[in-house]
Structure formats: structure tokens, C-alpha cells
Symmetry: C2
Subunit: 336 residues, 2 copies
Amino acid sequence: MEKQTVTIYDVAREAAVSMATVSRVVNGNPNVKPATRKKVLAVIERLDYRPNAVARGLASKRSTTVGVIIPDVTNIYFASLARGIDDIAMMYKYNIILTNSDDAGEQEVNVLNTLMAKQVDGVIFMGNHIDDKLRAEFKRAKAPVVLAGTVDPQGDTPSVNIDYAAAVEESVTNLIQRGHKKIALALGPLSQSINAEYRLTGYKRALNKAKLPYDDKLIYEAGYSYDAGTKLQPVIADSGATAVFVGDDEMAAGIINASIESGVSVPDDLEVITSNDTIVTQITRPAITSITQPLYDIGAVAMRMLTKLMNDKELDEKTVTLPYGIARRASTKSAK
Amino acid sequence: MEKQTVTIYDVAREAAVSMATVSRVVNGNPNVKPATRKKVLAVIERLDYRPNAVARGLASKRSTTVGVIIPDVTNIYFASLARGIDDIAMMYKYNIILTNSDDAGEQEVNVLNTLMAKQVDGVIFMGNHIDDKLRAEFKRAKAPVVLAGTVDPQGDTPSVNIDYAAAVEESVTNLIQRGHKKIALALGPLSQSINAEYRLTGYKRALNKAKLPYDDKLIYEAGYSYDAGTKLQPVIADSGATAVFVGDDEMAAGIINASIESGVSVPDDLEVITSNDTIVTQITRPAITSITQPLYDIGAVAMRMLTKLMNDKELDEKTVTLPYGIARRASTKSAK
DNA sequence: AAACTAATTGAAATCGCTTTCATGAAAATA
DNA sequence: TATTTTCATGAAAGCGATTTCAATTAGTTT
């Protein structure tokens, strides 16, 4: 017993007006006599009519849906961005089709294509790296794309980020000023430009400015996870580094816990600074000093930009850089 | 300069066949002569034709999209379920429209309605409480609904959960066996049935079985957050409780950190058990003993059930209860 | 009251695809 | 070879809205 669906035609008939008129009142078109509007509204209410968004999408060529590509919803960093995106989307009456890409290039392309097939009006992309193939797809897509918390050194896709290089440079400089000579850098895959082209650059700049030698033995490549951190810790300990900058909060938590459990004191023997200021930084003991990012806002601003693009408006700036900060917590010593 | 879109009509013309035939090859209908199929496929390739999912949805009355209602994507517990949902959805070629509800009844109803308007083929609902209004909407919806990690004591909506009451009962019983007489219970809002009707029940059963008195002064109601935990800790400390069962991992982390910082030793002065076994339980020191839940599977199974319902198949069981466990970590002492 | 402008409406085409039904061709059976 | 069956295919009718354009009605202005 399939549930009966009420269509615009039913409303038109019952209200003794044309479908066009019903469509007008549903869409708030002002060219409707108040009396007519009232009559139609009454019928809509009585029949409990809900416009079919799919039909509407086909006719109007706008789905009021945007696609969001995220590496993994369970990653707090990206989930926080997603929250900002969704709130603004809802504010503008858009729905979100959310898909996990696992940061895998092929999957990202697939997902983008199915999103386009669903006729999304726009796409927000989050990821750690953008390769040529993906870039080509962005160009090819007929809906606008905005990057959130995601850098593309090559492309000209609109994006919202903080200045990662500067943030790392400042963090590392702080460490240097406290006397550290051997500072490790624990990152995710160096195949990703966020690591290889931004964080590493910031790190090198700090070293250069302080005339400290660069030693690639101090650069560690690991996964974005707690376990990756615990496994990496002994290696870092062996390197003789007295401080470490970490690219992911969970990884940092792993490093800290493993350090303490192996008798390495944080911050006395090893100072730790991390990147994303998620709740994890407050949960560990010691709590972790971190670059602070306006996570929610990165998502929110990206979505705002996308709404402009979807309405064919010009963007004030294509590449938005939001301010970052540094939250000092117990995993670093106080400044000299 | 709007990008040109290739339609099924274009393909039909170029391939010198009818739209029906193109539709057949696109949908893998076997009733097409191999030679024809090949010819059509070649044209599809050449024109780079992608079927418009919206048009398809209108014509076929199936959108291959399911709605997912989640309290908050940044909540690791629900995000983990969402990940399971998405993976299975992708496996069955469904897309996910994800919306945050903030656990707010009104918002949940709204969101459900816009999902239905978008013609989703089904809905997965996650939340902490289901009231009559929502229940009524579920009934009214013409697409099937499945609850994931979400209980509804009244309703008969299909659902996937663990036996929360039993899990709490076992946890609390463990505490009792270690000699605790005053065991606090720190939960989210008691207006939510997961707390008032499941966790509390399990707690009382454990007490009853051990002939321990029930004292509602030991029941605490707070928010699902780290800060709520830190604020609650002194109150618990004052109560004289020597153990506490907590309904949320972040809250538990807050309680643990605040305890230690105020000189209360965990587990010596206060044993702590929590509910969701998220990564948080491994990050705190001491790590937190927790009920373990197959989070990913809860989502995955829920999505599997939904696909059955969407294809008008019968469910083997409407109420699926997955097994739970208890992971003993340092926030509790070892069993006697 | 005639003439003209502005405000409301409705008819009908469209959006891009699925699906039913009829038909002719090819294969199988008698 | 005549007669059934089975295959392949196309024509055309929707699906449920939006939107253009023309027609009608109501209001204004002389």
C-alpha cells in the first residue's frame, strides 16, 4: 500500500487555479493576489502538500544541494570543518551530500563525478593533497568548487585556509628561541603538499632564520593517527631531538603518551607542538601546545564563498587566509 | 558561457538508436544486442555522457540517496557510526545526505521533512531521544527509517543497538564486586530515554542485585562534553562516591583530568568506567575502562537493513542487538 | 467613458530520463 | 515451409515541478 503523494496538480485542481499559480505561491513569487495566495495556502495545508525537490531540481536546474568531499568523517579536524559547512549550508537552505574519500585520489575523482551526476550546485572539497587529475576534474565540473582547509599550490580553485607555513615557522621559531637545536618534524605523508610544501617550508624558514642546520634525518613521515604517534616516539627519542613539531593532534597525543611511558618527560626532555587544536590537545597530560585554527570558520567561510559562486557572484578574494594563533599549553615550557 | 550538457537524447541521435535503447545500456538491461550496446557505449564515451541523476530520480521515483540525521558530526561516537553507514551506502551505490540536528526535536522534524522532500529512498536516524512528534513523522514518511545507535522504547522503528542496560549493569556490577558502595552515575540529560530508561535501569539493576541502596543524589545530569566533565568532577568528589559510571567518553575524560588535578587519584580514589570506547579512552592517563561497542558495525548493519527495506524485502529481525564488551584499562583496578 | 498601463493568471513547453507497449526481425518448433 | 516464441528496438507517455508568453482583469489617467 504505497503512500499517496500529493502533487502540485492536485493542489491546483482543488484550489481551482493553475499549476503556475501554485508554483508561484510555493516559491514566494510576489505576483499573486493575496486572496489567491491565501486560498492556495489553505489547500496546501489541507492536502499536506510538499513540493517534490527532485522534480523541482529537474525543472529549475538547481538542486539546492552541495557536495562535500571529506577524507574521513571520524577525523575530528575535518569533521569540525564539516560542521561549519553544514551550518552555513542550512542557513542558505542547501543540503549536503557528504562522502568520504579516504584521501585516495581515485576515490576522490569518482566521488566528484557521482556528485556532479546528482546535479549538485557546488562542491566543497577537503583533503590533504590535490593532484593533476583532480585539478582537471575541478575545471571540468560545471558546478563551482571551493577548497576548505585544503591547499592547492598549483591551482586557482578558491580556497579557505590559514597560513600553514607561517604558523609552523612561528611555532618552530618559538622552540628555537627556547634554545632547541635539534627539532624534529613529524608529519603525514610527504607526498601531500600540505606537508611537503607548507609545513616543511615553514620549518625550514625558521631554521634558516636562526642559521640552524637542516637535517632531513629529523623529518618523520607517519600516519595521521594515535598509533602512528606511539610508534614514532621511540624513533624520535633516538634522534636526540629535544622538541618536535607534529602535524596531527592524535599523532601528537601518541607521541606524548609514549614518551611519558618510556620515561621521557614532556616538556622537560621533549617539547611538543601540534597543528590543529582539536579537543585532543586538551585531553592529554600534559595538554598540548598547538597552532589554533578557526576550524568551524574555515568551513563556514568556504560555504559562504560557495553560495556566492553558485549565484554567479564575484568573489572578493579567491584565496582566503584566516588568522591562526598559538595556544600555549603544558607540552612546551614558558617562553624565555 | 554555460558548460554544455550532453543528454541521453544526444547519445541516441549520434548512435542512431532510440533513447530507450540508450537507457537500457546505461542501466545494464540485458535486452540489448551486443553490437548495439557497443555502438552506444562508444558514443557515450565519445560525447562523455553522464546520466543526470535528478532526471533519473524523477522518472524512476528512486533517488539512490539516503538521508542521515546525526546530532553532530563532530561527535566522535556518532561520526563513527556515520562512517559505517557511508561505507555500506557506497557499496550499494547510495549517496548520503547528512544533516546535523543538534539533538533538538524541532530541528529533527524539519530535517526529516526536507529529506523527504528531496525524495530520499530511506533515512537513518541517530539521536539520543525520540519523542512522539518524531515517531509520528517516521510513520508518516513514505521512505523507510532505521535507527542507528539510537533507542526508541515505544516505537517499532527498526534499529541497531547494543544492550545498553545490560552493559551498564555489567560495568556497575564489576565496580560493586570490587567493593564499591557509593557509585556515581554521570549521564547526559535524563529527558533522553537512552539515559533515563536504559543506563539508569542497568545501574539500578546492578544495585538491586547486590542489595545496595539506590540514592538519587549519586545521579548526575550533565552535557556530553569535556568541559561538562571537568565541572562535574568536584561535585562527584564531594558526594563521597568512590567510583563513577559515565555516559560519554569526553565527559569521562574531563572527570579524570579534573580529578587528578585536584589530587583525587584515579583509580585509587575514584574508579571510572565510560560508555563508548572512542579514541578518547586511550588518550587520557590513566586510560579509561569502557564498554566497547562495534560503532562502525552499528552504522553498517543499520545501512544494510535500510537497503533491504528500500527494496521491499522483509527484515529478519527488526531490532538488532549487537554484542558489547568491556575494555579494562587503567581507570579501574583489576578485578578481585 | 475611452484608452492605456500594471497586476494576475493560465496554457503549454520543458527539464532528462524511465518504462510500458507495440512491432518487426530473428530463432525455434512443428 | 508455416507458425510460434523470443529478442531487440522505438514511440510515446509520463515523473512533478518551473518558466515563458500570451491573455485576461483590474486600476489609472485623461
